[in-house]
């Protein structure tokens, strides 16, 4: 699924370059979690940001390697199945909060350390 992450990253960075969205790195992860659940992000990406799929794969978001403004750009004009979230639905402040929340989620670990996944 690495190609999905790569294409998502590229799309978001390109979009961010044109969005002019303000950068914020001081989001509130508690508020971010509430918004993440309330506006339905978890439906495709999972409560742990583990990813999932609808018609297309929904990439993992835990420990998202994008700045808040890139996440905002992606939210405003998502690709494939991603619903567009306009500012009246999810404000830039909400995006910063969601971004902060995603940084609190544990990302992937070494599967060899989990007996059920070790090969």
């Amino acid at each position: 699924m690495s190609h999905i992450k790569t294409s998502m990253l590229a799309a978001a960075l390109i979009a961010a370059a044109f969005s002019g969205a303000p950068a914020r790195a001081d989001g509130d992860p508690v508020k971010g979690k509430a918004t993440f659940l309330a506006v339905g992000c978890f439906e495709c990406h999972g409560r742990s940001g583990q990813g999932g799929r609808m018609n297309y794969p929904a990439p993992p978001l835990a420990q998202l390697q994008l700045p808040p403004e890139s996440l905002a750009a992606f939210l405003r004009e998502g690709r494939n199945d991603m619903p567009p979230y306009v500012a009246s639905q999810v404000s830039d402040a909400d995006v910063a909060d969601i971004h902060a929340f995603l940084q609190t989620l544990p990302g992937p670990t070494d599967p060899k350390k989990i007996p059920l996944l070790a090969r």
Binding site: A38, G40, C44, R47, N55, Q89, P106, P108, L117, R119
Partner: protein, 645 residues
């Protein structure tokens, strides 16, 4: 045709009932009109009620005899046995009481009756059974009211190109119907209800006609492209005596060999594949028999090409380094030759689509890529239901059975590969193996995210189940969790390790079709597991009673995300498009308030149940307990509260 429902008899019964009713009414009236002192009841005399009254109560008109020594149903039972029908999935109904009784008392319960509490369950069980056993079975229900219940499951089987013999009881002659329900439950042409999604149907007019049409139906159903067939069975034929058994003949069932594609065209495909730099073979409903998988492996390894298994059948080992189903888009984008073999929706796979305002699409494949198809899907298409998918232009389309065509295609490919080409192909194989390994590594890494979270992730749930069954002769059946994790991370290498999807996507398939598959696995002693979506389950929860009643061993792992989650996501997309109400979409899409207690529900049906389980640490021990029940020959259900995806 002999008849028990003669006009004389009908008048006689009506007259009797009318007389009885009038007598009762007269007695009440007399009692109300005149107060009579209460007396001790007189001792009945030998003459009471008198021989005339006794005769009136018990005698039947001579034209309507009470007993018989043979029945059409007996002969029908012989026909079903002769046609190889082992199971009759059914919910009892008076319109086929004649056949029902004959199966029990003439046939010795052969075909074996599997009792279902809903006609949709009966048809879906026949569907699931075939996809493990490879042998079509029969279901029967009322005409009209039963068939409309069964129709959804028959439609799934049609889309999945699965054969079954669907039957109804019907009272064809209107002067033989009793008042009331027998009129509501009869139809001139019951097959019309499902003719859009059955391959053939008939309503036999006599017993010889029944024999020939039933054997013909079973043969047509199993001739690729396979599909359900339908027989409407007249109640008079079932119930009444056979006039002359010696005159009735049961035709032998002979199945035609599936037709392979034209040999010259297959040689052309072999050239295309052999000369390509990056050929890709796409398969979906390819495997008709257990022989298909090794045949496809042989072709793939000869070519060292990527296989994309859409998953309509268990076509290709999941962990084979040439299995690139999990990176289909990347493989398609690189391909210079794409060959679809029984690939139901090739257009859907090789084009990208947008679920946005204009629903645009674009090819994923290169404009210069050559495309070919082998299969028989287009040999059975009807106009109304659009299950055939969008038209995909190709360079070479070959009509013929995919599995039957594989040996010759592979033989031709091998002939075209010289030693020089072999080394190039080996290099390609190494690159594909590396890409496959990367795909698996990425999946394993993603599976670790949220490993200890509650609700439980689908990756954790699947890993916990696999750990408990991997050393058994296991069979994963049904469609829930999208099968993404098992198809990526489980070692599926036997034909019964997985049995494909529902076909039509009709909700309500998973529970009964999984049970049908488990019944087929039972005689082989296989351990059957099904991930069961909660939304799907609530369509046919009574399936659990059949599982308990017939002691069919199966573990249902309830993937309980408390929603019709696909619809939840679609509604979110719609709110996003309309720029409003992103926080409202759980209304109408979620199954909460109250939460359903599936374990308790299972126990109420006589099935072992545990849950709800929200803590991932509790899941392994619960599975172990439930699997002990299943290994002991009985069904069990574990309710796992899961994260949506």
């Amino acid at each position: 045709m002999a008849s028990k429902r003669s006009d004389t008899a009908a008048v006689g019964r009506r007259g009797f009932l009318k007389g009885a009713a009038l007598s009762g009414a007269a007695a009440i009236t007399a009692g109300e009109a005149k107060a009579v002192p209460v007396e001790a009841p007189k001792k009945a005399s030998a003459a009471y009620p008198g021989p005339l009254q006794l005769a009136a109560d018990t005698e039947r008109p001579n034209a309507d005899p009470a007993t018989q020594t043979s029945s059409g149903g007996d002969f029908m039972t012989d026909v079903l046995q002769s046609a190889g029908i082992d199971y009759l999935f059914m919910m009892c109904a008076s319109s086929f009481r004649g056949l029902h009784e004959a199966v029990l008392n003439h046939g010795g319960n052969k075909p074996e009756i599997i009792v279902c509490v809903h006609e949709e369950i009966a048809a879906a069980m026949a569907h699931g059974y075939y996809k493990i056993d490879g042998k079509p079975q029969a279901m029967i229900c009322h005409a009209t009211v039963g068939l409309q219940h069964a129709a959804m499951a028959i439609y799934n089987a049609w889309c999945d190109r699965v054969p079954m013999l669907a039957m109804v009881g019907n009272i064809l002659e209107e002067d033989k119907r009793l008042p009331g329900a027998e009129w509501n439950h009869s139809a001139v042409d019951p097959g019309a209800l499902i003719r859009d999604f059955t391959k053939w149907d008939d309503q036999p007019a006599n017993l010889q006609h029944f024999a020939e049409s039933t054997v013909r139906a079973v043969r047509i159903a199993q001739t690729p492209p396979m599909a359900p067939v339908f027989i409407s069975v007249d109640a008079e034929l079932q119930e009444n005596p056979i006039e002359d058994r010696e005159k009735l003949k049961i035709p032998k069932l002979s199945l035609p060999l599936p037709a392979m594609g034209e040999m010259g065209a297959l040689r052309e495909v072999a050239k295309m594949l052999t000369n390509a730099e990056n050929p890709v073979v796409v398969v979906d409903r390819l495997a008709r028999t257990p022989a298909a998988m090794p045949l496809l492996v042989e072709l793939a390894e000869a070519l060292q090409c990527a296989i994309i298994d859409v998953g309509g059948r268990m076509n290709f080992p999941s962990q084979h380094p040439l299995n690139h189903s999990g990176r289909a888009r990347a493989a398609i984008a690189q391909a210079d030759v794409i060959v679809g073999i029984e690939a139901t929706d090739l257009w859907g796979l090789i084009n990208a689509h947008s679920d946005r305002i204009v629903r645009s699409n674009r090819p994923i494949y290169k404009p210069t890529a050559k495309l070919a198809t082998i299969g028989n899907r287009e040999m059975l298409i009807k106009a109304n239901d659009q299950d055939f998918g969008r038209y995909q232009p190709v360079d070479l389309a070959i009509s013929g059975d995919g599995e039957a065509s594989l040996p010759y295609l592979t033989e031709q490919v091998k002939k075209l590969i010289d030693d020089g080409r072999k080394s190039a192909l080996a290099e390609r194989g190494k690159k594909l193996a590396a890409a496959h390994a990367s795909m698996i590594d990425a999946a394993l890494s993603n599976a670790t995210i949220g490993w200890d979270a509650s609700p439980i992730t689908s990756a954790r749930m699947c890993a916990e189940v696999y750990a408990q069954i991997k050393d058994d002769d296991w069979s994963l059946v049904g469609t829930s969790v999208g099968l993404a994790w098992p198809r990526l991370l489980w070692d599926m290498k036997k034909p019964h390790n997985w049995n494909g999807g529902s076909g039509g996507g009709g909700v309500g398939y998973n529970a009964p079709a999984s049970l049908g598959a488990a019944l087929a696995n039972k005689k082989h002693g296989r351990l059957t597991v099904s991930f069961q979506g909660d939304g799907d389950f609530m369509m046919c929860p009574g399936t659990l009673w059949t599982a308990a009643h017939h002691k069919i061993p199966l573990l249902y792992v309830m993937n309980n995300n408390r929603a019709w989650h696909q619809e939840f996501m679609y509604l979110q997309a719609m709110a996003g498009r309309h720029q409003r109400g992103a926080r409202n979409t759980r209304i109408g899409t979620t199954i909460t308030d109250p939460n359903i207690d599936y374990a308790n529900l299972a126990r109420s049906f006589g099935v072992y149940g545990e849950g709800p389980i929200s803590d991932p640490k509790e899941l392994g021990p619960a599975l172990k307990r439930a699997l002990a029940v299943v290994r002991n020959g009985e069904p069990a259900l574990i309710d796992v509260v899961t994260d949506p995806r």
